[in-house]
């Protein structure tokens, strides 16, 4: 079943590429600075997190000398979480938002989640490149362990896209899903060590937090950028296993309900 879907999507690669490009362009059409806003917005965010937290609020990460460390810690968790969250949020709305098109045109529906993931990836790449640029400018050169971000990003995409498709299909039939996920993502965010390092959380809470599949991913990113060390690959296996299961479930659910989706929109 996967080859069929992939072949269909490949046949529409032009449409996928065009849609991603168009979405990117349409955001800043008719603005004076145009694509510059793609840089200004995330840059402002990075500066706020790093400068405000580390310089003004003097927030320090226990056991690290560098006074930018907490800002870097924050950015490596927040930016990647933002990417993850955007993919899920867009995934759950992808069939509802394109309802009109689904009802009127016959085209491979799997292209829609692919477009939404790729669009998120483009945004994330810009933001993340700026972050790395910022690290270079401030003298916090990442070392060779930075290569670890590629498998990490792929893992996040597999996880979020699968979850997004599942939610996207369910959302067509049960509109509560969208509301519900808004609440869940709030809790999920705070149950992931992004704002705080795991070891500052209460002991009982830590036991639960490590069960969160995103904990190991956030820690892996933080490890790369704050400490320059390779991720603990073993800790990522459970997350990968969950992502794979979600992926299979997503494809089966999509396959089974794809026809019904149109009737329900």
């Amino acid at each position: 079943m996967i080859p069929d879907l992939l072949r269909a999507a490949w046949g529409y690669r032009g449409f996928i590429y065009g849609s991603v490009k168009r979405e990117f362009q349409s955001r800043y059409r008719n603005s004076l600075l145009g694509a510059l806003w793609n840089i200004i917005n995330p840059l402002a965010m990075i500066i706020v997190y790093t400068v405000i937290f580390s310089q003004l609020m003097q927030a320090r990460l226990p056991g690290v000398e560098n006074n930018l460390a907490y800002g870097i810690f924050l950015c490596s968790g927040l930016l990647t979480w933002g990417f993850f969250q955007e993919m899920i949020a867009r995934g759950q709305g992808v069939f509802l938002d394109n309802g009109n098109m689904l009802k009127k045109l016959s085209f491979p529906r799997i292209t829609l989640p692919i477009i939404s993931v790729l669009s998120s990836l483009v945004n994330f790449s810009i933001i993340f490149s700026l972050f790395i640029g910022f690290l270079v400018v401030t003298g916090n050169y990442p070392n060779i362990s930075i290569l670890a971000i590629f498998p990490l990003i792929l893992l996040q995409i597999l996880f979020a896209m699968s979850l997004g498709i599942i939610l996207g299909v369910l959302n067509v039939f049960f509109r509560d899903i969208g509301q519900f996920m808004g609440v869940v993502l709030q809790f999920w965010f705070w149950f992931t060590p992004i704002i705080y390092p795991l070891n500052v959380a209460p002991k009982q809470a830590q036991e639960w937090i490590v069960l969160n599949p995103m904990t190991s991913v956030a820690q892996a990113y933080q490890g790369v950028f704050v400490y320059g060390k390779w991720p603990d690959w073993y800790s990522l296996w459970p997350t990968f296993a969950i992502a794979l299961i979600l992926f299979v479930v997503a494809l089966r659910l999509f396959r089974k309900r794809a026809g019904e989706i149109v009737d329900e929109l």
């Binding site: 529409y12 065009g18 168009r22 349409s26 009127k104 016959s106 049960f174 149109v262």
Partner: protein, 407 residues
């Protein structure tokens, strides 16, 4: 070459008493179905041969759109089987995938890709798309500056840029100015000539009869009739008039045509003749000669108001001329059962040579849609011959005079 084969096709939507029932059905394994099926199409079978054109007619809610959606693949049939070979293009909703902030050209690429064309194909087709749309420099302006007609031109040009093997057209097409309407219809006809199999949904008698080889009539999700477009349209017209009380009857005439008679029968036509100058019944008439249409009507029960209308149709079934006593302010009031009325319409036969038929209607008001006492297609067939006037072409005899000055 491509054909469409539809066998026992049915479509049902699931209806659940509540969202919780749906959830229960999804989550509880091996649970009994908690939904009811609401059938909108049942047991539809037809076959369109390669290169043939089929018209689909039916009232709103008859299931036409659902059938089209199944044929184009946007929705799946619940039962039955469908096979279509070749590239299918659908003109259901024009302009899908357009974005107002991008130029016409950018939108053509986008919409074209959505239709399954590749970038290279679109590069090649672009000049012809541009030429057909005739929107000039607007091609490179943002779509939001377009008028709706221009958007429609562009959308149609993209959707038909490449000749499809099967083309499915919804009546949505009747937008845009009449110039472009003609142009787009010409393109559809051209496709047909080159072998495209065509399926058209419309309410419009003219477009069905002028393009289609055959037509099917849908009613409440069932296929109720299949046959030559004219017969189906007559039946459909009668069906529109009825809906409730009465029956529709069709008789096969000697010339192979089918006469459709419908109505409540409260008033009925007892005889129809066409009289020449000498008052003799005739079926062959000289161009321009005066004739009288004599219609005898029996009143079978008391009726408040009676209007008689007649319409002359050419052999394609297109209306040539029609009028009724309501429009002439000569309607009759308060008729009693047993009354007899004789109507005589006199007119010069200023029409071109060929076969014509006359349809009659007895109704209460201007239109037979309201109360239809009797509607009769092919009430009379006559021929116009031309042995006295110069040989002219067309349906109207305008008896032009000529003045030439040469210096």
């Amino acid at each position: 070459m491509s054909e469409i084969q539809v066998v026992n096709l049915g479509k049902a939507y699931k209806t659940y008493p509540s969202q919780w029932a749906r959830l229960a059905e999804w989550l509880i394994p091996n649970s009994k179905p908690r939904h009811e099926l609401k059938w909108v199409l049942t047991d539809i079978s037809f076959h369109i041969k390669p290169g043939e054109a089929l018209g689909v007619v039916g009232m709103n809610g008859a299931g036409k759109s659902t059938l089209l959606k199944i044929l184009t693949g946007t929705t799946q049939a619940t039962s039955g089987h469908l096979s279509a070979t070749g590239r299918v293009a659908a003109l259901l909703e024009l302009g899908m995938g357009f974005h107002p902030d991008f130029t016409g050209r950018q939108n053509v690429y986008m919409a074209g890709q959505l239709l399954g064309l590749s970038m290279e194909e679109l590069h090649t087709l672009m000049p012809s798309i541009e030429a057909f749309a005739e929107i000039g420099e607007y091609m490179d302006h943002p779509l939001r500056t377009y008028s709706s007609g221009m958007q429609m031109r562009l959308a149609f040009s993209v959707a038909t840029a490449q000749r499809p093997d099967i083309l499915i057209v919804d009546e949505a097409l009747s937008v845009g100015d009449s110039y472009f309407q003609h142009k787009s219809f010409d393109r559809i006809r051209q496709f047909r000539k080159e072998g495209t199999t065509l399926l058209i949904v419309s309410h419009d008698r003219q477009s069905i009869q002028s393009v289609c080889d055959r037509a099917i009539l849908l009613n409440k999700g069932n296929l109720v009739m299949e046959g030559p477009p004219e017969e189906v349209m007559d039946y459909y017209g009668a069906m529109m008039a009825e809906r409730e009380q009465n029956t529709i009857r069709q008789e096969r005439l000697d010339n192979g045509k089918v006469r459709t008679i419908s109505g409540t029968g409260e008033a009925s036509i007892s005889s129809v003749v066409l009289l020449d100058e000498q008052g003799k019944a005739t079926e062959v008439i000289e161009v321009g000669s005066p004739v009288t249409l004599e219609v005898r009507v029996d009143i079978n029960s008391d009726i408040p108001r009676l209007v008689l209308g007649f319409m002359i149709k050419d052999r394609m079934g297109q209306a040539i001329y029609g009028i009724n006593t309501h429009r002439l302010n000569r309607e009759l009031i308060d008729l009693k059962a047993g009354d007899k009325v004789v109507y005589r319409y006199a007119f010069p036969a200023n029409i071109g040579k060929g076969h014509y038929s006359i349809a009659l209607s007895l109704s209460r008001l201007d239109s037979h849609i309201d109360t239809n006492y009797e509607w009769r297609d092919f009430a009379l067939v006559f021929h116009i011959i031309n042995s006295t006037q110069p040989d002219f072409v067309g349906a109207a005899w305008l008896d032009s005079s000529l003045d030439i000055q040469r210096s």
